[in-house]
C-alpha cells in the first residue's frame, strides 16, 4: 500500500499535476452555474438547510471521471456521490463547492476542495476559488498560490500572541451554545474577528494574511484540503482538544504552534 513517504519524485509530480487538472475541471463546471439565473430560481426551495446545486454535482462528476481514467487505483470520497474503494492506499477527498450558501449568494469566497490522503490523513490539498482565479496548493514539498498576480509562496504568519491575531469563523451561524461560548473566549482576546468566509478563511491563513480559524460542525470533506494546505504553509490544524482534525467537527487552525497553544487553552477553559 502507498503512503506519502513511499512516492518517488515522478509520482509526486504526477499527483500535483492531477490536483491542477482536477481544479481546472471543477473551475469550468462551477463557473457555468455561478451567478446564473437558473441556479437562483431552481434552488430556492431547498436552499434553507443544505443547498446542493447543479454546480456541486457537475464538478464532482467531472473530477470522478478524471480520477477513474488517471488514478483508477485510488479511492474517492466525495460529498455528492457514494465512496469509491481504492487499492493503492491513497484516497481523494472532494468537496466541489465548499460554502454553497456563499456560492448561491454570488460571493467570491466559496471554493473547490481537493485533497489526497493516506492512512495518516491528508498530505496534499487544493483550495481553488474559480471566479477570482486563485488556487492555493500545499503538500509534497509545494506551498504556493497561483492567482491574479502570478505565483507566490504560501507561508503562515509568525504572530505569537492572541492580542495581535486576526480570527475568522463562520459563527454565529454554526455551533451549540457551549461552542459559541468557547469561541467567544478566544474572540474576546484577539485583535480582530471576521465572519462568513467559508473555506476562503483557511486559504487566507495559509497565505499569511490571518492567524486563526475556529469552527464547529465541519464535515471531514470540509477540512481535508485546508489541513494539507495549512500544514504545508507552516500552520497547525487540530480539533479543539488538540487531537486529529481529520474527522471534522470542532476545528481550530493556527498560523503557528505558539498561537495554537493559546487558542486551545481558551477553547478548553
Amino acid at each position: 500500500m502507498l503512503d506519502r513517504d513511499r512516492l518517488d519524485d515522478a509520482v509526486k509530480e504526477q499527483y500535483v499535476a492531477s490536483c491542477h487538472a482536477l481544479a481546472e475541471l471543477a473551475r469550468r463546471e462551477t463557473l457555468a452555474w455561478f451567478r446564473s439565473a437558473q441556479l437562483t430560481s431552481d434552488s430556492k426551495q431547498t436552499l434553507e438547510f443544505d443547498p446542493v446545486t447543479e454546480a456541486d454535482r457537475a464538478a464532482e462528476q467531472a473530477m470522478r471521471a478524471y480520477l477513474a481514467r488517471h488514478h483508477p487505483e485510488d479511492g474517492i470520497l466525495g460529498e455528492e456521490f457514494p465512496p469509491v474503494a481504492g487499492r493503492s492506499g491513497l484516497t481523494w477527498v472532494l468537496d466541489p463547492v465548499d460554502g454553497t450558501r456563499g456560492f448561491l449568494a454570488g460571493t467570491p469566497c466559496w471554493g473547490v476542495l481537493i485533497a489526497l490522503t493516506d492512512a495518516q490523513g491528508p498530505f496534499l490539498g487544493v483550495i481553488d476559488q474559480p471566479y477570482i482565479g486563485e488556487r492555493f496548493l500545499g503538500g509534497l514539498g509545494q506551498a504556493q498560490l497561483d492567482g491574479p498576480r502570478g505565483r507566490s509562496r504560501l507561508c503562515t504568519r509568525p504572530t505569537d500572541d492572541l492580542s495581535q491575531a486576526i480570527l475568522f469563523t463562520t459563527f454565529p451561524e454554526i455551533g451549540t451554545t457551549a461552542e459559541r461560548d468557547a469561541f467567544a473566549r478566544v474572540r474576546d482576546r484577539v485583535l480582530l474577528t471576521r465572519y462568513g468566509m467559508d473555506c476562503y478563511a483557511y486559504a487566507l491563513l495559509a497565505a499569511g494574511q490571518i492567524d486563526l480559524v475556529i469552527e464547529a460542525g465541519l464535515k471531514p470533506f470540509d477540512i481535508a484540503a485546508p489541513l494539507a494546505v495549512i500544514r504545508a504553509a507552516g500552520g497547525v490544524v487540530t480539533d479543539w482538544q488538540g487531537g486529529p482534525a481529520t474527522g471534522g467537527g470542532q476545528i481550530v487552525a493556527s498560523a503557528n504552534p505558539r498561537l495554537h497553544a493559546q487558542a486551545l487553552s481558551l477553547l478548553a477553559a
Copy 2:
C-alpha cells in the same frame, strides 16, 4: 448650479469616464498595499477601531489630484482628508477603502467607493473590487458590471417575499442591542443570512444575487456610491424609517419596493 437633470449627454459621458479613471487610479494604489507584509506589520497597533492604511491615503490622494485637474469646479468629500468646497453644485464622495478590516485580513470583499452627488444626493456611483478586477457602476443611464467575465447589466431581483430573500449584513459586529433586535426580526423571516461582506454586499444586491442588506452605524461615505449603483439597478435604499439614506446611520437596501416595505415594517415593529 448643476444638478443631474441639467447635464447634457457629452458631460454625462465625461463624468462616467471620470468614474472609470478614478477607479483605475484607486485600483493601482490600493493593490500596491493589499496583502503586503508592510501593511500587516505597520498597522497592527491601530487596527482595533478604525484602521487607516497607507492604501486609503494613497488612493484618495491620487483621486483628489485627478479631480483637481479634470473637475476643478466640483467639491470633494473624502474620508481621509478635509473637504474641498465646489462651485458647480456637484460633489464627489470618495471612500478609497471601504471595509478596511477585510482589506487588512486579505479578503477580496473590500472596495473602492466613488459617488457623484447633487443637492438631491448621489446619482452616479462606483463600487470597485481591485483584486478581483470587478467594477459595479450605476447612474446617468448606466447600470453595469465589468469583471472577469466581461461586461454585464446590473439588475436587481424580483423576489417579492421575505421568506425567499437572501439577507446580508456586517452584524454581529455593528449596532446597539435595539438595532440587533430589529435586525433579528428580519433575519428570522428570510431564507438565508450571510455576514461580513462590507460594500461587496451592496454590489451583489445590484447584480441580482441577493435581496437585502441591513446595516447600522454607516457613515455618509459608506452609502453614497452603493445608493447610486443600487438605484440604477432597480433597487431601493433608505434608512430604517423609510427616509433618505444619504446621511448614513441605519441603512436598509432592497431588491425592489415590495420587499423593502416588508423589511421596513419588521425593522419598525
